[in-house]
Amino acid sequence: MLTKLTNWSRLKSPWILHLNTGACNACDIEVVAALTPRFDVERFGILLKATPRHADVIVCTGPATRQMKDRLVRIYEQTPDPKFVIAVGACAMSGCVYRGAYNVLGGIDQVIPVDVYVPGCPVRPDAVIDGVVKLLNKLKG
């Protein structure tokens, strides 16, 4: 009964933390644009949270720079279980144009485990929503 209830509430209110790990800002504004009236992810109960301790889902953008690596791990550890990571954009997936640069690790999955990849350079807000909804379906069954 209790697990059913927690699962239900988890599905209805996936709170996200937006984390930039060296992205060019394009994916970041598209993630924010997904929160605004045209796309409005709040109708799925998705809310942008300020601290990792309140979040269920970490939305990561950017190719993971060396400087951000330790911070990324720390933020991942601060997020309470169960936690999920969405890699948003081509950079977060593989490094995009920055692949091979000396200060770039080339993808979020080099540092922390990733559940959903959303392609695009930059992603469209619709794609972000699609990614989150796919994650919710994964949770369901």
């Binding site: 992205a23 009236p37 933020i75 920055y98 091979g100 930059p122």
Partner: protein
């Protein structure tokens, strides 16, 4: 009693990773220090390994909000190096996209300023109207954020009559909405009270600390590259440089709202006087050995690219001075003797684009905590010493 408060790199008030360290006495900030490097990706080095054309798409990804600024600045420089003269129609379309980008950036900023001031409905309103501009950009270029419209010697896509009509119709809606924001932003008592007097930067300080863009213009200095050193077709377009003399966040808001109206006028002028003809000329693959400095007025201020060619199809050096970097020194001045609660607002008021500004490298010795700036030659020597006898980079496999 003094305390040190670190803010960032991941912090609710910041959208991008940056670290601010503030020494406070009670509520008042006495010292401020900005730490950079969380977003440093090594873009200038990457640029040296790619061809002139490939670099357009690389410079586009320096920043997602002012992507057109960086490509235009780069492309203008390369055109000078290759001694190319882009056709008039190409320049008009390039300027059109630049102005649309300015509108979308300023609307975005207005929203963020509203959000930081605790006025979230303002944020939602401006971002809703920003989608109109994003639609226009998508119609013109096929993309919402990275337009990819610039190419060496012109632009890649032409405009047709349907698109022109759509843009003019959308401008009417935007004008009406901006009028509303102007009233709201300058007369709504609680909003004005929150912004007025915050982040004071006097005219003398603004000049001495090399502030750029709306931050400088809000301190009463009418400086705009579009007017002072016209590039593209700005020499023949009638427009005004907007300034304010309140020297605070309110002034920066007013300057940006006024610039929105100038943008609408410029776009209308461009579309009504759009010349016929081709949009691009063919560009050579190599550039003669030379060097060039290219200036561009990005939405955040003056953007400078320095490009050096050596006769091959790749640049020898590309140096980017993004507008945000020019504003950091002024930000520290603005933060000093202010309240902690004003930090997000003051910091947001320069419209920081951290990904643009992450260019410099300073080395920190982890064991001693000592920080030093190393010269390029010393760095070269060091790298030679370390890599002596190892596989050459071209043959080496990427460790990831």
């Amino acid at each position: 009693m003094k305390f040190q408060i670190p803010i960032g790199p991941q912090h609710p008030a910041l959208k991008e990773p940056i670290s601010l360290r503030m020494t406070v006495e009670g509520e008042i900030i006495r010292e401020a220090d900005i730490r950079l490097g969380y977003n440093h990706r090594g873009l200038e080095k990457l640029a040296e390994q790619r061809t002139w054309i490939q670099n357009i798409y690389l410079t586009e990804r320096i920043c997602g909000i002012c992507s057109h600024s960086h490509t235009t600045c780069y492309v203008q420089g390369v055109e000078k190096l290759m001694e190319l003269e882009p056709p008039k129609r190409g320049l008009y379309i390039r300027t059109l996209v630049a102005e649309l980008e300015r509108i979308h950036s300023h609307l975005l900023w207005l929203g963020v300023a509203g959000h930081e001031a605790g006025f979230d409905s303002f944020f939602m309103y401006t971002w809703r109207d920003r989608e109109i501009v994003m639609d226009i950009l998508e119609i013109i270029s096929g993309n919402r954020v990275h337009y990819g419209i610039n190419t060496i010697g012109g632009v890649r896509r032409d405009l047709d009559d349907g698109q022109v009509k759509h843009i003019l119709d959308s401008l009417e809606i935007l004008r009406k909405r901006s009028e509303y924001y102007k009233n709201l932003g300058t007369t709504e008592p609680s909003f004005v009270a929150r912004l007025a007097g915050v982040g004071y930067l006097s005219k003398e300080d603004a000049i001495a600390l090399c502030a750029v863009g709306p931050t400088l213009r809000a301190s009463g200095v009418p400086m705009d590259v579009r007017k002072d050193d016209p590039y593209a077709v700005y020499g023949e377009i009638p427009f005004e440089v907007c300034t304010a003399d309140t020297c605070d966040v309110l002034g920066r808001t007013v300057v940006r709202i006024q610039e929105l109206f100038q943008c609408y006028n410029i776009i209308e002028y461009l579309l009504k006087n759009l010349p016929a003809g081709p949009v691009a000329v063919r560009a050579p693959r190599r550039a003669k050995p030379n060097e060039v400095v290219s200036r561009y007025e990005a939405p955040r201020g003056e953007n400078i690219h320095y490009i050096k060619s050596n006769g091959t199809d790749k640049p020898e050096r590309l140096k980017v001075r993004a507008p945000t970097l020019g504003n950091y020194a002024a930000t520290i001045k603005m933060l000093k003797n202010g309240f902690i609660a004003d930090v997000p607002l003051i910091f947001a008021a320069i419209d920081p684009c951290i990904c643009c500004a992450e260019r410099a490298v300073s080395l920190v010795d982890v064991r001693t905590g000592q920080e030093k700036i190393i010269s390029m030659n010393a760095l070269k020597q060091l790298s030679l010493k370390i890599s002596a006898g190892k596989v050459r980079k071209r043959e080496a496999e990427w460790p990831l």
